[in-house]
Symmetry: D2
Subunit: 381 residues, 4 copies
């Protein structure tokens, strides 16, 4: 890609951790894909309304305290669990592994790392069998499973599809203080970097990592953490995402729209960010690209490129950088949040001293007023 139209492309991700987590001797489990997130919500009825009546996720099963939801092309029991609780938080980032035997590997891998590991033969949620939950070295509650109840894949059931039909769980996004350290650990777990955001001083602001051959199953976003930045569902087409916005407007719920819709630079996908009734962030996402070859080119974006997060240069709202959900330990208590010490992406791009460019050769802060972002504008008035 030429300098004027896009990011640098390299054959691998030049991210080096200064404080790495040691690589275990035990091999990692063979992970297929991100499979579901367990969200603790404070008002189950409000959350159910948001995910089912507004967004159109399908209820596989529910009881007084829990709702199990799936997307329209899913055949496993659920992609999202809403569980009633006193504090809005994330109880699990759950991944499916290739076979039952991979759970043994997960136990060994995390045990060697000194992590807390809990295994339940009958699963932590309905619809699942043998499952392993851990608090990983980054502080996140991760789950692995293979055994799962099959349910009807509703791909052909167009009479159930809405204008904004969500067809797949696409990815998670995690906030962590030290991105290179997190990347190194996730590579040990078998993930590969597809894209990242860096600056010329070598700071890494975020990295996208995959198991299935899309741009990511999860991303590591620099910030105070461990926290959950968002969970993302895919639609087939861009108009589906627009339809979700239109419906939120009609329901006088447009204030749930935090950012977008827009086109990402990173991933090249069309996107929308919503906030659920507890403030959990949900992305709607469509049309990234195939990344399954081992030598898939890694795309590195300059943090000052104002098209990296929105290809159209539209400003990122500060809340998107600063707000995220707490995550829970295996006893249900919130994990403590550690502050990021590396430079913040918001500070270097839309803060008082930050700068961004549309064309690399332009002077710093040469953006027209409508592209400078809310934060920067604040200082100009």
């Amino acid at each position: 890609m030429t300098d004027t139209t896009g990011p640098a492309v390299t054959s691998d991700a030049p991210i080096t951790a200064s404080d790495p987590i040691p690589t275990p001797v035990a091999p990692p489990p063979d992970i297929l894909r991100c499979a579901y997130m367990e969200l603790v919500v404070t008002d189950l009825a409000a959350s159910r309304n948001f995910y089912v009546e507004v967004l159109g996720l399908v209820v596989t099963e529910e009881d007084e305290d829990t709702v199990y939801l799936r997307s329209l092309e899913e055949f496993i029991h659920h992609n999202l669990v809403l569980r009633k609780g006193p504090l809005a938080a994330v109880a699990a980032f759950s991944y499916r592994v290739r076979s039952p035997e991979e759970l043994d590997k997960a136990v060994e891998f995390y045990t060697e790392l000194g992590c807390r590991v809990v295994r339940r033969k009958d699963g932590f949620t309905k619809g699942l069998g043998d499952s392993v939950r851990v608090i990983d070295p980054l502080g996140f509650p991760y789950e692995f499973f293979y055994d799962v109840e099959h349910v009807e894949r509703l791909a052909w059931r167009y009479e159930l599809h809405t204008p904004g039909a969500l067809v797949r769980l696409d990815h998670f996004n995690q906030v962590t203080p030290d991105v290179p350290r997190a990347v190194k650990f996730m590579e040990d777990l078998g993930f590969r970097v597809t894209e990242d955001i860096q600056d010329s001083e070598g700071t890494t602001y975020a990295a996208w990592m995959r198991r299935k051959p899309t741009v990511h199953d999860t991303a590591m976003t620099g910030g105070d953490g461990p926290r959950m930045h968002h969970v993302a569902f895919a639609t087939h087409e861009k108009h589906n995402i627009i339809a979700i916005c239109d419906k939120l407007g009609a329901l006088r719920m447009s204030d749930r729209i935090e950012r977008g819709p827009g086109r990402h630079g990173v991933s090249n996908a069309f996107y929308l960010y919503l906030r659920d009734p507890d403030g959990h962030r949900v992305e709607i996402y469509t049309q990234d690209y195939y990344t399954g070859d081992p030598d898939n080119p890694v795309v590195t974006w300059d943090v000052h490129d104002n098209q990296r997060r929105d290809w159209w240069g539209n400003p990122v709202v500060p809340s998107w950088y600063t707000e995220a959900s707490l995550v829970l330990d295996l006893d249900g208590n919130p994990q403590p949040v550690v502050a990021r010490t590396d430079t913040s992406e918001m500070a270097v791009t839309i803060g008082a001293d930050g700068f961004s460019y549309t064309r690399p050769e332009d002077d710093a802060e040469a953006l027209p007023s409508w592209k400078q972002g809310e934060y920067k504008l604040g200082h100009q008035l």
Copy 2:
């Protein structure tokens, strides 16, 4: 429409001018539609590149000083004229009338109003015959014509269509200090109001007016004027508008995107605002609704409804409210700009004292941070 989902709907537009222009005795010309705008541009090559290479308008004819452009479904000679000049401005808002005889009516109508009127049998631009230009009572250079050279309608020439194909000129938008006065005059000229923005004190902030049965051929936007707010072209579908944004990103011209894409409350159309190399604003627009019945319901929006200008509640950037193009008199000199004395829409909605709501029953300023707009945010930091 219920209170929670949309605007008030009334059987006519309750807009009253306190300082009306007298209605002429002479009947107005029978106007078919907005037909073309003549733009003066300071760098003809840059403007040609923007409208032809980037946006894909078709060159009907060109010479050293002028480029005549049309949209893909047009059969008259042009919808946009780019003329090289020393000062970026608008030389004419041009409308087609139903027959050659209507030009006599135009002369009488504006002459009775005391306006300057110039008629040229061979037209003011290539491709047109007998034409009348006037400076109307609001200070705008208006043109009327019937005779025009027919050219190929390229509707079926899909090999020429781009992903962002512009198929029709849709409307103009004018900035004028006294909206009720402008509306009354345009009604005398035969236009009808389809939608407007008001407040409970009776201030009118903007009004949309039509001849052809769409939401507008032109709109009157309250502000310092006479100035030209924007000229709008239509696409067939929403993805065409997204494709224009994507291409601007690829060309590292994303800073031409001022606002959007988004869904309008007013008009219900999907929109995007661009700024051309001289700063002239161009809207790309699709899918408003039929308004051709005499009793078409007028839709009145509350100025404090934050879905009125963007149905998704996304903030309007201040430049969109404050910046507009000068207009020229018939000698090519810029018309003086008169300040608006009525309340400004920006001030009452995103300024320090302004407020907006998503749900009418909510407290003022109850919007989440990401919906409060750039201007308001500036005061909070």
Copy 3:
């Protein structure tokens, strides 16, 4: 348009009636647009299910014998009336006129022509006031009205929109033996031709005619008549039409799809033809072009051009040419059907002796096997 890409374009429609209906001295009523069709259906529950549950039209009002339906952007009481009756047929093609006074003109116009005329101050259907019904000289039951109950325009009510949302009634299509005679009469009624299909011998096979500035409010299709060929509703985008097909598949009702989806040559619109439970044909249609100028170029297609009815050259099924709905007289009895004596479009294009071309210069019957149509193929096996 060049010979290789499209049809002939002329400044007017060279259609001459050999047996014209005399032009009345009385002026015609000023018609705004096609407004609704009254369909007699034999199984009201089945029809209601088709139009409401499958196609998503909105019930304004209903009783034991009648269902009043409208499209999502409509503000008048209905666009379609389903009335239970013993014989599937069309009871009225109904048009809205510009003012109440136009009904007097309608009475005079048709009375002078010797037609049966019935006027009801309280309307023939619910939701309407003063209305005039006639049997026109071509044998069709036509209605005119102005007074109508306003209902909510659901354009902004996206929570009610389905993936295949029908937003407007677009047009009717009538089958009549003598197309030039019908065109001449409709021109007297104030309609204008926008496109037609002819051959080099001067036979006219079909003509499209408009009041509102789209390609048509009704079309005259050559065949045994008077019969109703179809009634058409518009969607915003092409994917909406595809969604209707997908839903019919999911409901195992795909046999309701008679032809398409495809792109028309005539009108340039994207289309789909369905058959309702009684066999009444419904078109779903989107994105034709503006035709409102008096000198709008008439597009004439060669009957042998195999892209005229489907721009992609896909064959037209014989049922589409031969089947149509009966129409009723003002007493509710079916009008007798008169056979067409002019050449049939089906015979000259897909019959044993017919021929079609993709490129005018190619030999007759040079089409590959997959483009020759079902009828022609039948003779080859």
Copy 4:
């Protein structure tokens, strides 16, 4: 899935080969994905025009005899090679493997099977390194490679995208007489069945098989073979496919459209089939579903279900069943074609004695005339 809306879903593919190829002791190479097809074309200029000027594939490199093309999201040298030759045919179905070492496995695997195997360290085409070509036990010329020249991934280069942008090579489709035998062999090679078409007597008519987690990298279609049925490229959205049809119409090349566009039952993708200047069949395809889990449910369709090949029940043209491209041996001579002895899908569904249904409970041949297919109709006239 219930009986009325879709196919049977089973946990594995109940396809049993009566005359199986023995499973080699040597393990198969680890295949990533279908990567490119080498087509021999008789008029290189005509083929280049079709694939480059009409379909918009990108020329990576070309010389007098060969054109190397890629899709817009590809980063390897090519997805399609057009090579000039005396006879239209397929020279290679080429797959990328996970590492250079996998080529040794390929050599051993096919050598053990007694196949002819040729390895070239500098590749059979430009842009590739070490490659292995074989004639597989089914008679097809297969290629495997890892080393390849990287080129720019044009995903972000929207200024190069056309309305019908082809973004990925999606799959191949092969015609072979004995589908169960072919499936068994491909399973030995590491492929997995995702969907198939069978009848209640146990005949298998076609099967879809994948390496990457989409519905297929290749499919086995029952018929006289070995022949190449089609090669398929993906678009992002459905309107991209429609744009290709519209452009073909504008270029008066609509006779290149053989079948569609439509929605597949099998795969649930939106599709279009074209024929290139030599008659090679090209599919344009979008939006199938994720199949990467080991227990991905296999979908089995009844051969009599008329929604299996087109979800809307639109007839399949006979040419689509009967015509296919020859394949070459490693010396460039056409492989002999062996006749299918199992029942033909065309015969049992649209032939004189065949039947199809929309609803399983309906009587045989209960389809309305417009759904009976061209072949069947031929017998009725």
